[in-house]
């Protein structure tokens, strides 16, 4: 069965998809690392960002890649506002409450989208959607390669932000020791909202990278949300390197699983991996033992 002519392009395809998963997972892992919550609305917010990109293109003719500087700040603002206005308020300091609130938000966003835009799947038409180039003996899709390198750039920017700026320092301080951070004068509520905003901003970028090759529908978020959870759990909750590594591993697993088991059963591979990692190594590949 190991037919190299199928295997190699499939693996490369998986790597490029995996890079976008990594961007989505970076947002999720940042939110988890700082706020210690699992954002169940992550997939729904990604879906919202994808509709944003879709409408920017269909109404104003803005190319998805050009839309990055619009979508990233817009999603950042949305995330900041959600944390400050809804999630932070509703939590009463209990983790289960935040879990339920983000689940509630996901339900609202998904179904509002279903109501407003119906369940039609939509795609945008770009001249380069089917462009390919030769990479050695393999044909690869140009938008996917762009997505791959953009994802690497975003991950690098993220890393620089976390390690080289005051904001990054403050975020890391709050993540490690909330009360201590508060004592040295860090505004914890602001840092929480900034972290949530940054996590959601990643979704804005991911949406712009996805749309040239992917469709959008109100249910599209759920296709990504469990994948993003799997990536984060696999990489280790709160670990940035883990999210990148996990994203690539999952991308390749999915692609090869789809090749050998067929579309629908290939998806199961991810879930089984997810459950296995949760059961046997909940700290993930790069996570610290808690």
């Amino acid at each position: 069965m190991p037919d190299l002519e199928l295997l190699v392009p499939s693996a490369i395809n998986g790597l490029t998809t995996g890079a976008v998963y990594a961007v989505i997972a970076l947002g999720l892992t940042l939110i988890y690392g700082v706020l210690h919550i699992i954002n169940f609305a992550h997939g729904s917010l990604l879906m919202l960002a994808m509709y944003g990109v879709f409408f920017l293109h269909s109404l104003f003719g803005i190319d998805p890649y050009v839309a990055i500087p619009i979508m990233v700040p817009a999603m950042f603002g949305l995330g900041y506002g959600l944390q400050r206005g809804v999630i932070g308020r509703a939590s009463h300091g209990k983790d289960e409450n935040i879990l339920l609130v983000t689940l509630g938000l996901a339900i609202v966003i998904d179904n509002l989208a279903l109501y407003l835009w119906r369940s039609d799947t939509r795609i945008i038409d770009t001249p380069y959607a089917f462009a390919t180039f030769e990479f050695g003996p393999v044909l690869v899709s140009t938008p996917k390669v762009i997505a791959f390198f953009a994802a690497v750039a975003i991950a690098t920017l993220f890393w620089l932000l976390m390690t080289r700026t005051d904001l990054g320092k403050a975020i890391r301080a709050v993540a490690k020791e909330k009360t201590g951070a508060q004592l040295v004068g860090i505004n914890v509520d602001h840092v929480y909202a900034m972290s949530f905003g940054l996590g959601i901003a990643c979704l804005g970028a991911a949406a712009c990278l996805l749309l040239p090759t992917f469709y959008v529908s109100p249910q599209v978020g759920s296709a990504f949300v469990l994948i993003a959870f799997t990536v984060v759990v696999l990489g280790g909750m709160g670990s940035f390197m883990g999210a990148v590594l996990g994203g690539l591993i999952i991308g390749v697993t999915e692609s090869l699983g789809g090749l050998y088991l067929g579309e629908s059963l290939g998806q199961i591979g991810i879930f089984v991996l997810f459950i296995l990692v949760l059961l046997f190594r909940p700290t993930g590949l790069m996570g610290q033992q808690s």
Partner: protein, 319 residues
């Protein structure tokens, strides 16, 4: 003892409803309300009393539903027998999920994620397997008669649903008054403290999930017999999981009458939205989501908690 008499009063009041109200529409409403309440009671055992939040109760519900459907269409097993087997099938899945998660100390968000993923895996499997009718679903052949658990008129289904809710109420009352219930609540409040006081945390959680998932399995069997149709999205989709969480949260988690109260409130609100918004797809669930956020933000102890608080305030004032 006080709770047993309260349950008896509630059940006696609800018993004659089908004979008092002749409207088919209202009876259907009442049946769906009881069905939701029972689903909520199932979740409440594990989530409300045990503090283990499952986001995928559809995994147990769907397994019970498919068990009844497949057993009678493929093996000709009587649905009354199928009903009992559905409870066992639900418990079986619950035990597997519980054994794996609790053994490795998964709790909180991790446990929620595992249950969510298990429901999703089962949905994909049901969508591909032949014996579940794959994506087309299963249609139960119409063969009316109480012996086939297909009542000719809705009164039979109403009584069956009421019996299930009664079962749920007595089990919940048992949690309030038994050692098992006390241990389960101790685990919810503080697992380490419970363990230190000699509670076998793993065993208690396992018993709770088995109980909870067997009730969810029964709810699935009821659904199959009432609608005589099942597909992977109905059985394992997110709607059931969400309803199972929402009902006790609206009514009050970890309380005896919370799920019943929550189901009544939820179904009344949802009926109103359906009238106001005609047949807009998704709007009903938008209301569910808003309610979930609203309840957690403003009334974390649910309607039952609100009622208790008001009653206490009144008593304080009169003293």
């Amino acid at each position: 003892m006080k709770s047993i008499s309260a349950i008896t009063v509630v059940l006696i009041l609800m018993l004659p409803i089908p004979w008092l109200v002749q409207s088919e529409f209202f009876l259907n409403f009442a049946i769906m309300l009881l069905f939701s309440a029972f689903l909520g009671q199932a979740w409440n055992v594990l989530g409300g009393y045990g503090g283990q939040f499952s986001f995928g109760h559809a995994a147990f519900f769907g397994t019970g539903a498919y068990a009844t459907a497949v057993l009678q269409t493929a093996f000709g097993i009587n649905p009354w027998v199928g009903f009992v087997l559905a409870g066992l099938a639900g418990a079986g899945i619950g035990l597997v999920v519980g054994f794996l998660s609790f053994r490795f100390g998964l709790k909180g968000a991790y446990f929620a994620l595992v249950t969510l993923a298990v429901a999703e895996v089962l949905r994909i499997l049901a969508n591909t397997a032949d014996f579940t009718g794959a994506g087309v679903g299963i249609l139960i052949p119409l063969d009316q008669g109480a012996a086939n658990l297909q009542f000719a008129d809705k009164t039979g289904f109403y009584l069956l649903a009421l019996a299930l809710v009664a079962l749920g109420l007595f089990i919940t009352a048992h949690l309030d008054n038994s050692r098992f219930g006390a241990r389960l609540m101790a685990v919810r409040e503080n697992e380490d403290a419970a363990r230190a006081s000699g509670v076998n945390v793993f065993e208690i959680k396992l018993r709770a999930i088995a109980l909870s998932s067997s009730l969810a399995g029964l709810a699935g069997a009821f659904y199959t017999q009432y609608f005589l149709y099942l597909d992977p999205t109905i059985a394992y989709g997110p709607t059931v999981s969400i309803e199972a969480i929402l009902v006790p949260i609206i009514g009050g988690t970890g309380t005896l009458f919370g799920p019943l109260l929550g189901a009544a409130a939820l179904h009344t609100i949802s009926e109103i939205t359906q009238h106001v918004a005609a047949d807009a797809p998704g709007l009903n669930l938008v209301v569910y989501g808003v309610l979930l956020v609203f309840m957690v933000s403003f009334l974390p102890s649910g309607l039952w908690g609100l009622a208790t608080r008001l009653r206490r305030r009144k008593m304080d004032l009169s003293n």
